[in-house]
Every structure is written in C-alpha cells, then in structure tokens.
C-alpha cells in the first residue's frame, strides 16, 4: 500500500503560522511539517484554495483507503490507526478490491488528539490556544494537561492495532475501580 499525506490549511493559525497566503508559503510549511513530524511517506501540497481537500469533504483529519481499482474502500472521518489497521487487513483479505469494514467510520476518536494534539497547537501560540479554548472550553487546556502524561499514554494512543479484548476489559475495570475509589474518597471527606 502507498501512503500520501495532503497538507490542507492552518487549522489553528497564530502569529508564527498565519493562514496561507501563497503557494510558496504553503510548500515551505509542508516541508517543515514533514521534517518535524518525521513523516516517512510522501507529503503533497494542496492548492491554496484547498481544491482537493474540499472535493474530498474538507474534514479536519480524514483518511481514505483507495482500492486497486481506484474506488474508496474505506473512509475514516477522524483518523484512527487501529481502525485503519482493521480496514487494511479486511481489504487485503479481499485481494485489495471492494468496500472494506463497512466502508466508513465516523466516530470521533479524540484520545490520540488529546495525547498528541498539543505540539500542533503550540506552533500557533498564543492565538491558536485562545481561539480553540474560546470555541470549545477545554479545547486547548485539556490537550495541554494530557500531553504532560504523554510518556504514560502514548503506547495506548499511538498503537497501530486494536487492543486485545482482555486488555480492553482490564482497562474498563481499572477505570470503574478508579472512579469508585474517587467517589468513595469524596464521600469519606464530606462526612
């Protein structure tokens, strides 16, 4: 499978990363983006007016898997590596042709964005964080806080394969136990 990343626009502009006004500025930013994010595959630069991005839906972080005939096999509206991995395996089992894994996933996969979203926002500080926090309370403060625990959370957030069922059950139980302990501690403090 070939991979390509299409650079669209500054989603969270700021003083150092203003909205693109020339194709040259966009290309130079794409070069820096590829280098800073260590993207090993091809990065292409969309037209200044986002012609290709708009034709493909203009969502902030989508991924398409296109089959060997040039048709859309899978459309993830919010890029999520484990889901893409499952779609990839399904398409491989279909000899790289046809709609895979039901064709789409439009769930908002926010965990990875919370863990790794801060470096992108940081490029446009302070405006990027103020704008996002104003648009949606917690939009920039939460990624900032969660980013501080990235060492702990990245293995989960960046995993390329779905979690085994036993791990999911274990994490769910741990979350329930943690929440119960928190509630119990609050009650004990108030009495």
């Amino acid at each position: 499978m070939d991979f390509v990343d299409v650079v669209t626009r500054q989603a969270h502009p700021g003083p150092e990363v203003p909205p693109y006004s020339t194709q040259q500025q966009k290309r130079e930013d794409a070069v820096a983006y590829k280098r800073e994010e260590h993207i090993p595959w091809t990065v292409v630069v969309d037209r200044l007016d986002g012609q290709v991005h708009r034709q493909y839906g203009a969502l902030p972080d989508p991924t398409y898997i296109i089959d060997c005939d040039g048709r859309v096999a899978f459309y993830g509206t919010f890029t999520h590596a484990p889901t893409l991995h499952r779609a990839f395996e399904a398409l491989r089992d279909q000899e790289w042709r046809g709609v895979a894994l039901g064709g789409y996933d439009r769930r908002p996969h926010l965990f990875a964005a919370l863990v790794d979203g801060w470096p992108a926002l940081r490029r446009g500080l302070p405006q990027s964080a103020i704008d996002l926090e104003t648009a949606t309370p917690g939009g920039s403060s939460l990624p900032f806080l969660v980013y501080q625990f990235r060492g702990l959370l990245r293995p989960l957030a960046r995993r390329a394969t779905p979690l085994p069922a036993t791990t999911r059950v274990g994490l769910s139980l741990a979350a329930i136990a943690g929440a119960t302990a928190l509630v119990a501690a609050r009650r004990a403090r108030s009495t």
């Binding site: 390509v4 034709q55 060997c68 005939d69 398409l91 439009r106 648009a135």
Partner: protein
C-alpha cells in the same frame, strides 16, 4: 449551513462555527462515499515533484488530509 460555510478556506481564527461545520459534514459523510471512484488529482510533493493519484492504480493507496496545526 450556507452562512456557516461562507467563511474563507484559509481562515484567520478558529471559531465555534468551524466545529459545527465539521460535525455536520461528518454526520453527512461529506466527501467521496465508499464504493465511489476517488477523483484523480495531481499535486506537488515537498520536493517539488508531481504526485498523481491515478498513477498508483493497481496498488491500494492511503490518503490522509491533515494540517500542521
């Protein structure tokens, strides 16, 4: 919806309306639907070389759209 989508593509400030537009587009599955042909396009890569989707037939292609910010 039209009033919401009237803002310029390269906007100056991220606003609540952008979130609303994204949510509506996600709900509608805006873009190319599963099973449809992916429209061909040719864009320059970071080295200034042309990259054409249609030249990659016979191999599956993963296309991600993203922003540096």
């Amino acid at each position: 919806m039209r009033a919401l989508t009237d803002s310029p593509y390269n906007f100056e400030h991220f606003r609540t309306r952008h979130l609303i537009v994204d949510a509506v587009r996600t709900w509608r599955l805006s873009g190319i639907k599963p099973g449809e042909y992916a429209p061909d396009f040719e864009l320059d890569d970071t080295e200034g070389q042309g990259w054409q989707l249609g030249a990659h037939r016979e191999r599956a292609v993963l296309v991600h759209f993203g922003s540096p910010t």
